[in-house]
Symmetry: C2
Subunit: 209 residues, 2 copies
DNA sequence: TGAGCTATCTTAGCGTCGTTCAGATAACAA
DNA sequence: TTGTTATCTGAACGACGCTAAGATAGCTCA
């Protein structure tokens, strides 16, 4: 029941309604879940009429795209942080994987919106290879750091893709009840993630040659 | 614009409306996509009033659960077939993975409903370890066939989980535009799937000891 | 200052949706 | 034949996405 950004700087009519709507959507998303997110509810949360958002977004999908965009930025940051903090490039691969899944677990609703919009567009929204700041490129470069041959482009892309798919799959299923006993046995969710990645070829590049 | 099951055997009021609704939903799902699937549209397709489905399903979610259940049965069958046709147990691991992703690509809407309902329930709907016919158990047993130690239960579960997560991730991203050039370079989508799985630890169990 | 312009926001409304409820209908049991 | 019960319909409610017409208020430039 808070009035969100409504009480802040208000240069003219509402202030930066676009910003306020994205924030309101993110807030509602994590609070109530993706199914409860209606454009009307976002407008209510931001304190404007149901029609107001249409002056800033073509439709509901475009608002969700904006929310997803913020999510990708956050995810890129989490991955960069994990990579920077890892002791060795080889460790970095595992740490990036864990950071990825942890991000998805901590922001489940936004993570879901990120992939819902990606599915609709049938593409990663940050461009992947086209954008050197993208999370994909960070993972790819970490493979190079860990010893992959940067000239074998196709091998490199396949390894990066394989790693990404594993992390996404784990992120989507991490909260399934069937895995609870494994988390308990291994001493926590993060340990479970680590153990799964250990069974995977994230490290295969190291044994390649 | 076909009248679906409406013209078949009709023991009393409508006939087997429950069956007709599930079929109508599956048909609409693949034809129009998940976002276009409304309970009212399903009722229309089946030729009944919007309120009729409520005598067979508690709500829309329960109908989707039934559709998802049929999907899991189909997927289990596809996996069993791939396992049976593989030349060696080691091949079977790769073939199951390819069959899994191909199923998802051929039935994208139903596949999505399968995981949407799974997410809502935070669990695999077929019970996994609890159900020896489940796809999960088939994969796990294939690891045993391929040389995994059946007594190291935890290792076995982690490997199976890792493989499953990879396949799901690939299934969700297989149609992203960014992968088109890899599919072209490798000579088709199936070859792309095979190449990704090759980079993964699906085979790790073979090199374990 | 003030007139006009334009972006912004509101009010009202359309069609659709999920869901409920009272009542009609038809198979079946006695 | 009468009653019981499962099944289906019609009408309705509130919420939704979205649109159109009009009100409002900040900005520009005389």
């Amino acid at each position: 029941m808070r009035d969100s950004q409504a009480a802040e700087a208000r240069p003219y009519h509402h202030g930066d309604l676009r910003r306020a709507l994205i924030d309101a959507a993110s807030r509602l998303l994590e609070a109530e879940g993706p199914s409860a997110l209606s454009l009307r509810a976002v407008a209510r949360e931001a304190g404007v009429s149901p029609a107001a958002p249409y002056h800033h977004f073509k439709d509901k999908g475009e608002l969700l795209e904006a929310v997803a965009g913020e999510g990708w930025t956050l995810l890129d940051g989490a991955i960069a942080k994990a990579r920077a903090e890892a002791a060795t490039p080889a460790d970095a691969l595992d740490e990036i994987g864990v950071a990825y899944v942890c991000f998805a677990r901590e922001n489940p609703a936004i993570y879901r919106v990120m992939y819902d919009t990606a599915r609709d567009k049938e593409a990663f929204p940050d461009g992947m290879e086209g954008n050197e700041d993208s999370a994909y490129c960070k993972v790819r470069d970490t493979f190079i750091d860990a010893g992959a041959n940067p000239n074998e482009v196709q091998e490199l892309e396949l390894s990066t893709t394989a790693a990404w798919c594993s992390a996404h799959g784990l992120a989507e299923m991490a909260n399934f009840k069937q895995f609870q006993h494994l988390k308990d046995a291994l001493g926590g969710e993060t340990a479970f993630f680590r153990a799964v990645f250990k069974r995977l070829g994230l490290a295969a590049i190291r044994a390649q040659d």
